[in-house]
């Protein structure tokens, strides 16, 4: 039994080591959301409930500003749905690494799938030897940080410096790092640049944030097609 609990501690600890960049990035964002939500007329308890039930940063920001603008519930819910549809792609990628896990685990895990936890966990799964429990720890720690920071923001986040020490750059830097780690050959570089370029272009043209999904689908398909073409040539192309 003792080794069992030591093992669990180790998993929790390594989950913590993987999750801290997310937590550092979430903190100022959560504070900012708390401040905005409070200004929109939500109580601290309501802010906590929202973060607990929804746990989706960008959707929460949008919902709060819609609330303030007097939008009706169906409109806010529909917008939330569209904004969070991109997680279909992320969960599909994660599923490959969670094959054979129980339904209860998956139900619990799904709750914590965000852009950030997805990116960190997938990178670790790829590196091998990443236990689903460690991935779950990443999800839950991110979620806890998010709830605490949004509530704190609701209490008086305007008094806490949200931009000190470049903390507002934490998530961008984390994503940059994760992009670098995902690149395993020229085709991945092309895919990354294509996705980024497409996203900027589509982001300019179409309102809302459908550009994320559209650019990802397009670029991933491009990468896939290139890899197929290289393989068909007899594998003489650049290694992927």
């Amino acid at each position: 039994m003792k080794t069992d609990s030591t093992y669990t501690y180790r998993l929790v600890f390594s989950g913590f080591k993987a999750a801290w960049p997310i937590c550092v990035g979430y903190f100022p964002l959560g504070l900012a959301l708390g401040v905005v939500a409070q200004n929109a007329g939500l109580s601290v308890v309501e802010i906590g409930f929202m973060s607990l039930l929804v746990f989706a940063g960008s959707a929460q920001f949008i919902a709060v500003s819609m609330l303030q603008g007097g939008a009706a519930i169906p409109a806010i819910v529909a917008t939330t749905f569209v904004v969070n549809l991109r997680h279909v792609l992320m969960s599909s990628s994660l599923a490959v690494h969670l094959r054979g896990m129980g339904r209860r685990f998956l139900a619990f895990f799904a709750y914590g799938v965000t852009d950030e936890s997805f990116a960190v966990n997938l990178n670790r799964f790829r590196g091998g030897a990443w236990h689903p429990t460690e991935a779950l720890v990443v999800n839950q720690l991110s979620n806890a940080t998010w709830i605490v920071s949004t509530v704190l923001g609701g209490y008086g986040g305007q008094y806490i410096g949200q931009k000190s020490f470049g903390i507002d750059y934490a998530l961008i830097a984390m994503f940059i790092g994760l992009i670098v780690f995902q690149i395993r050959g020229g085709i991945y570089v092309v895919t990354a640049v294509a996705a980024g370029g497409l996203a900027v272009l589509l982001g300019k043209i179409i309102p809302g944030n459908a550009y994320v999904v559209l650019a990802s689908l397009g670029a991933a398909t491009l990468g896939f097609a290139m890899q197929r073409a290289v393989k068909r040539k007899g594998g003489r192309g650049p290694a992927t």
Binding site: M50, S91, R99, I176, S216
Partner: protein, 110 residues
Amino acid sequence: MDLQREHLVLFFLMGVVTYLPRWLPLFIFSQRSLPAWFIQWLDFIPVAILSALVFPELFLAGEARDLNLWNMKALVALPTFVFAFLTRSLGGTVIFGMFLYWISGRLPVP
């Protein structure tokens, strides 16, 4: 400390439409074996989605999404990228990026 019923209903519904897209693919795709081509395609999703999230963050400014290729966020991204490439350390990259961005904001240049 009030908790309006209407707000609670809203958060609950938002929670449902947030949860379903996260849960359904996990539930469906982890129970069966996927065709090889689909797994190969999914392999490109992470790098694509990360880039699709970051590039607009760096190059589109404000609500109006004005194209701005020359700004501090984008400039700091370059050395951060190189740092990540050389060190392969996520934590280090986060600290490095934060530090550079912070310093750049305190430089006496516009």
